[in-house]
Symmetry: C2
Subunit: 429 residues, 2 copies
């Protein structure tokens, strides 16, 4: 079988899977959890092979850490599946119901998208999270993981596929791709694949967008901002700046630029510097900032940089409008936080920042599917259509318009109006 | 100013427009309606110039008819605006509310997408419908209409822009493009434009998708089907087939292929033929069909053809599964209808047909934004992400995640769980 056949099989399975009831999908998820538990030795052994080969190839230590998939990590993904089972199934939900005329009713009903292509990094737990989210939401999935994890991914895909199909899920719903060439083939198969979710660098996401007609849900850089307003509680501002920058630096929701209102800069900046110095954060700032604290001068490039490291750009602004304009110019539409006690400022900030996640008096690090209560996430979207921010089950759905008539034809309405009455009922045949 | 400046101006205006309250947007819409009424002589005169030039250039009669924009058509678009004013404003609606912890609340709130680029055909009424839908939904818009309608489009864009800006809507929210070269420039401006909606042929939509990184919401062909099940009421089936094919043939929701269960073919087909013969419909059919009624033999190509004319392909199938498989293989995911009294058949048909609109016992011609009660429509989407079927106000929205904290940082939750409690409240500062 080649990629075309894989994709055709996934599409065919996805159509049947779209009609599956929640109970059956949950039973399949339970079987997957049981099988992962029962076959954990096979998983650990495959992962040991991947780790050994990657060590021999001198893979970086952080990547080796992400690649490692041992007993505790297996427990984590099993916990994740068990919590996914408890989430409401959004498939089949009636979104709107309208009477068009007596005996002619229109329903907008949530349904799976179809086949999702996901290209993810080295972490094998991502394979389990993504495929079980797709199963629960009734989608077929084509997965391509990091090549370092090839044996681990193979055994995980086998277990998930076998265990789910044994409970009646249509065979072929999960397909594992193994090479970059496979990905390039997949990008052409818009007759079978409905959405591509690439996880990786901005350049990688751009490459995918440039080379496929299939819709892409992804995120560009995560250039997140914290704005300390003139009415900020300074102690709170310091704590939030510290957490937003330092709690975990290598992730997209970590803050890269701090904006500080000039009225509080003299009080805030030295306290902030003391706090960030304790983490050895490399600071650079605009002229007004360096006039207050002794740090490197920022350049135009500083405002555009996603450090993903212990580094931060700092700018003093004269008012909230300047802060918002800076965010909309240099930001990536990911996550922005304002620290203030002024509700009018909050309203402006939240309405005018053109970003998917806008926070008041809390850390940008909360921007995450697990923390949002979405269960796992397939990724964080900085797109402005379909789904935005952390994407869980609901981002894997679309809707169908279902109409129930009793013989009506459009010609009947040449001399007759539609009632367009909202109905408070669920779709039912 | 060049297209870059136009797009930058639209983006900048769209950010302010996103924060506008419903009252102000409705007041602007009312001012637009009043101005269109007051300046109808200018419109009619500009349209007369377009018609004269197009007649001299020997434009086809159907295109001339679409281009004509006279008193009654101006009344129609004014009525449309007045009914748009009465629709609920979906911007700012709270979609979900979740408590993450005491004093830490997460809201998913509907907001405009940003700037929409719309490329539409010759009808000048489309300009009014699309731009007023964008205004009501808080989006900036870049419009490119048919070149035949250049003077009509110019005066309409001027009136809508002037009248709305006079009531306080940010200047620049509406931009009119005038050449195909402008469109090609627009396709590159993904830093300003968030969504492209091309209305036109399948080839044209494909061209746009191949030449832009911006998300495209469009429809491919409209190859719609009516399936006459074994448990169909034959008289109803004939009426629905007739309306689906003949009520207006030149549109995407007209039916192009009829599928007939073999158990009722002998009874249904002759009656159907009599009904369609009265409209001079050119019929072709599979072997089983031509064994019952005397029509041309269908070819493989027949099942893939969007006639947009008085022509229909007919196929006899042995069961509902064959009908669904045919639809999923040859259809374009637009609109499918089943005629039957068997509820199990309806359920299979609606769940398994991979199309945006699935109807029971009514005509495919109902697949339309006005008939659905969406107000006007910007188009019909056969995409499977973001919006599907007729797209009105809601298809022009996305959401923001807004979080209200009281100083929380992620580090607090190292040893503490999130509550993830659903809240029954609207977002409020």
């Amino acid at each position: 079988m080649n990629i075309f056949d894989f994709a055709e099989a996934a599409k065919s399975a996805s159509i049947k899977l779209a009609a599956f009831e929640s109970d059956k999908k949950n039973a399949a998820l339970a079987a997957v959890a049981t099988a992962l538990d029962a076959r954990r030795n096979e998983i650990i052994s495959a992962n040991a092979d991947d780790l050994k080969r990657s060590e021999d190839e001198a893979l970086d230590a952080p990547l080796l850490k992400r690649l490692k998939f041992d007993g505790p990590k297996i427990d984590d993904v099993i916990d994740g599946i068990n919590s996914l089972i408890t989430l409401d199934d959004p498939v089949g939900e009636t979104l709107t119901a309208t009477e068009l005329d007596e005996g002619l009713e229109l329903y907008k009903v949530a349904c799976p998208i179809g086949v999702i292509g996901v290209i993810f990094e080295s972490r094998p737990d991502a394979l389990v999270q993504i495929s079980t989210l797709c199963l629960k939401s009734g989608n077929g999935v084509m997965l391509k993981g990091g090549s370092e994890a090839i044996k681990t991914n193979r055994i995980l895909a086998d277990i998930i596929s076998e265990a789910s199909v044994a409970t009646g899920i249509p065979d072929g719903w999960l397909q594992l791709l193994e090479s970059r060439a496979d990905v390039n083939e997949m990008l052409k198969l818009d007759q079978f694949i409905d959405l591509i979710i690439p996880r990786g660098s901005n350049e990688f996401v751009q490459y995918i967008m440039n080379n496929s007609n299939i819709a892409v849900l992804g995120h560009a850089d995560g250039i997140c901002h914290v704005y300390i307003d003139k009415d900020a509680d300074i102690e709170m501002a310091v704590r939030i700046a510290e957490d937003s920058k330092c709690q975990y630096v290598a992730v997209c929701n970590a803050t890269e630029t701090l904006l500080v209102h000039s009225a509080v800069a003299a009080e805030f900046l030295p306290k902030m510097k003391a706090s960030l110095d304790a983490h050895n954060v490399d600071l650079c700032g605009c002229d007004k900032t360096t006039a207050i604290i002794d740090i490197t001068a920022a350049t135009e490039e500083s405002w555009k940089t996603e450090y993903l490291d212990y580094a931060l750009s700092v700018k003093v602004v004269d008012d909230i409008s300047e802060a918002i304009a800076h965010i909309n110019k240099y930001g990536s539409g990911h996550t922005e936080a304002i620290v203030t006690s002024d509700k009018t400022a909050v309203e402006s900030f939240m309405n005018l920042c053109d970003s998917g996640n806008v926070f008041w008096n809390c850390s940008t690090r909360f921007s995450d599917g697990f923390r949002y209560g979405l269960g796992a996430e397939v990724g964080i979207s900085t797109n402005k259509i379909h789904a935005r921010g952390p994407v869980g089950l609901e981002g894997l759905l679309i809707y169908k318009w279902k109409m129930i008539g009793s013989g009506q034809v459009v010609n009947d309405f040449s001399n007759k109006s539609f009632t367009h009455k909202k109905l408070d009922k669920k779709f039912e045949i």
